[in-house]
């Protein structure tokens, strides 16, 4: 039992980082109506910026504040320049564009930082283990990750529910033609949502650094999983992404204990089941 709880806790940590990426993807897909293939690469860029800031300042704290801002600016700039012309075109155009962007970003990072990885130290103050009372003690940093993800998810939810901008974004995800017919200047919200999605990916990048280190290809695998989370949770569903992210994290973790060889395919099996029996996703709208 203890063992199972340990697996569960660590599964939640893995799932939490997935949730951050999936939420950004989901928001962008909802409002901008294209699949942002470059999401993983931008997450990687955020992680790299954090790794340099961490070395320069000797701590991760500043990066946690600065990276989201820098990434939001980068996201806004990308949306205004290369992504905007894709609106109204075939889906595949935006897909190819962001696919190309991915390669440029990865190669760019390789050129600047080299193809090897960089290490990122967890904050000193979190370099201890926490005894949860059940299961093995867990490194404090991992619990910190869960807390930060919880704050970001909560903040994003309040922003969407309580603010005027959030209202426009929620409405725009459902029907952007109609909100424009109500006089809302929609374009600026696309920029904003892309910026927010990228900023959240940047936060995920910052948090990942001390766990796995950073390296140019780090976004590729997690991006695929984030897509799976979006599909399983339901396209456009906020809590769907949260629930599916945590669920996949936990399922992978528990499968690791019993049959590690199948752990990698668990998310995809789940995705196929969901697509077959509940195509709108666990919490997706009809």
């Amino acid at each position: 039992m203890d063992q199972l709880i340990s697996q569960l806790v660590l599964g939640l940590v893995s799932g939490a980082l997935l949730v951050l990426l999936a939420l950004g993807l989901n928001l962008i897909f909802g409002l901008l109506e294209f699949i942002n293939f470059s999401h993983g690469a931008l997450y990687m860029v955020g992680a790299y910026i954090a790794s340099y800031l961490a070395v320069a300042t000797g701590t991760l704290w500043l990066a946690l504040l600065v990276v989201p801002v820098v990434m939001a600016a980068l996201g806004a700039a990308l949306e205004r320049t290369v992504i905007r012309p894709m609106y109204g075109r075939e889906q595949v155009d935006a897909l190819l564009l962001t696919f190309g962007l991915t390669y440029i970003l990865i190669e760019g990072v390789r050129m600047i930082a080299g193809s090897g990885g960089r290490r990122v130290a967890a904050p000193e103050i979190l370099a201890f283990q926490v005894d949860l009372g059940v299961g093995r003690p867990v490194p404090a940093y991992l619990l910190f990750v869960v807390v930060v993800v919880g704050l970001v998810v909560g903040g994003l939810w309040l922003f969407l529910q309580r603010t005027n901008v959030g209202l426009i974004v929620r409405a725009g995800i459902r029907d952007h033609e109609m909100i424009r017919a109500l006089g809302v200047r929609f374009d600026r919200y696309r920029t904003l949502v892309f910026a927010i999605g990228i900023a959240v990916a940047g936060i995920a990048g910052v948090l990942t650094g001390p766990i796995t280190g950073v390296y140019p290809e780090m976004g590729a695998d997690i991006l695929i999983l984030a897509f799976v989370v979006v599909v399983v949770g339901g396209m456009g569903s906020f809590w769907g992404a949260v629930v599916a992210g945590l669920l996949i994290g936990v399922l992978v973790s528990i499968t690791t204990l019993y049959a590690s060889i199948y752990a990698g395919i668990v998310p995809f099996v789940l995705m196929i089941l969901v697509m077959t029996f509940r195509p709108r996703g666990l919490l997706g709208a009809t």
């Binding site: 340990s6 697996q7 193809s115 090897g116 990885g117 290490r119 283990q129 990942t208 060889i261 990698g264």
Partner: protein, 421 residues
């Protein structure tokens, strides 16, 4: 145009000189491989200059180029022309590049690889064309049926079972008697599983407490930590390479796992060690067929030249291509440039090169070389050893001799060939 000209030249040579070449060869050295020839000798190197193991691939490129440079660009009187290609760690790319090197460039020899997947692709093309291929990555399959071609296949890196046989006595006597295997879920990991399972069972009182596989390129190892601890193992073998090592050791360290359970890495490489750093490496163990500060003239000659050329000591993979180029150049200088002559000369060859003494045995063209057990040092320990702390991340604690004892014996190999036919 050049390709066409050399094709024509090759055809003419083939027609005029009837001796020497083995049928079907696309190589243009013809039969005129005597000491007097000044025809360039073309060697193709295909390795991974992009992809997850790029450090290993770059090391191989460096090793090959260094060998040519140290030979003064010549094998005897014949200039060496080295053609390096990138396989991106993908079998299909390796296949395409090998085809291009064999057909268009008409190389006389092929070498390189960092992964079992690409080595088999290259070997297939090389054996079809009758071009000798010298494999340079750890795999069990290259010189076993159906891949092995006696005319053209050579393996200069150890097989995983050589390394696991070498490591098991150390693991069981020094680290723990209840061993957990955490291995990558692809050919190399499963070869290790087979190797360790057999070898550990042969050590008295030692057992495999559990095993788990992780997908190549796993970033999140956290779920494996309680799985390992829950198995009750008192020693851990980690079979991942490159980034997987870094990810795993980082996460294991956060849990203090490597302090509680002695951890042994199947494949050490300096490039990984540098990314890990002293704090993650200290207290862990590893194995390698090459280590840069091994006290051996052959090794040090290579290491000194490498450091001069590239500023850092070599990793573990460059030495394979360095050796391959040297073996080829030595034989070409002696006039053994045809695949047939090369084979006759190399079977049973004993040379001293970048890994020290090495033998290429006759039955399966497998190179036998020592395996080193390495201990990870803390920064302070490295300092006190008087090495450069930057590169002296490990020290050799045991040398497993490169004898048949640790490899599948030639009798076993022959039995396997007979079984398959």
């Amino acid at each position: 145009m050049r390709a066409k000209v050399s094709l024509l030249a090759g055809a003419v040579l083939l027609l005029t000189s009837c001796g020497g070449t083995v049928g079907g060869s696309g190589s243009d050295d013809g039969g005129g491989g005597g000491g007097g020839s000044t025809e360039p000798i073309k060697i193709g190197v295909i390795t991974s200059l992009t992809g997850a193991y790029v450090q290993l691939g770059e090391d191989q490129k460096n090793g090959a180029e260094l060998a040519v440079e140290m030979l003064g660009g010549k094998a005897g009187d014949r200039p060496i022309e080295l053609i390096v290609r990138d396989d991106q760690l993908k079998p299909d790319v390796a296949l395409r590049e090998a085809q291009s090197l064999v057909q268009e460039e008409q190389v006389d020899f092929l070498t390189g690889c960092v992964s079992a997947a690409t080595t088999l692709a290259m070997n297939q093309i090389a054996s079809q064309a009758g071009v000798p291929y010298l494999g340079t990555c750890q795999t069990e399959q290259l010189n076993r049926p159906p891949n092995f071609s006696a005319e053209s296949t050579y393996h200069l890196a150890p097989t995983p079972s050589q390394t696991t046989n070498g490591a098991a006595p150390f693991i069981c006597s020094e680290l723990g008697t209840s061993v957990f295997l955490l291995l990558p879920d692809y050919a190399y990991g499963h070869e290790q599983e087979a190797g360790y399972t057999t070898a550990i069972a042969e050590q008295s009182g030692c057992r495999v407490a559990g095993k788990a596989f992780f997908p190549l390129g796993t970033t999140d190892f956290n779920p494996f930590i309680p799985t390992i601890e829950g198995s009750g193992a008192d020693a851990l073998v980690f079979g991942g390479v490159g980034r997987d090592q870094v990810s795993f050791l980082r996460q294991a360290a956060q849990f203090g796992l490597t302090d509680r359970i002695p951890t042994f890495l199947t494949l050490e490489d300096l490039s990984f060690d540098q990314e890990l750093g002293h704090d993650l490496i200290a207290g862990t163990w590893a194995m390698s067929a090459f280590y840069w500060n091994v006290d051996d003239d052959g090794v040090q000659k290579y290491v000194t030249a490498y450091r001069e050329a590239y500023g850092t000591p070599p990793g573990g993979y460059g030495v394979y291509t360095y050796n391959a180029i040297n073996v080829i150049a030595q034989q070409v200088a002696k006039g053994n440039s045809s695949p047939e002559d090369f084979r006759t000369a190399v079977e049973g060859l004993e040379v001293t090169l970048g890994q020290g003494d090495m033998a290429i045995r006759e039955c399966d063209h497998q190179a036998l070389m020592p395996i080193y057990i390495l201990k990870g040092l803390s920064a302070d320990e490295a300092q006190s050893r008087g090495d450069d702390p930057e590169f002296g991340l490990r020290e050799v604690v045991q040398t497993v001799p490169g004898t048949e004892e640790y490899a599948p014996t030639c009798d076993e190999v022959k039995a396997e060939f007979q079984r398959v036919g």
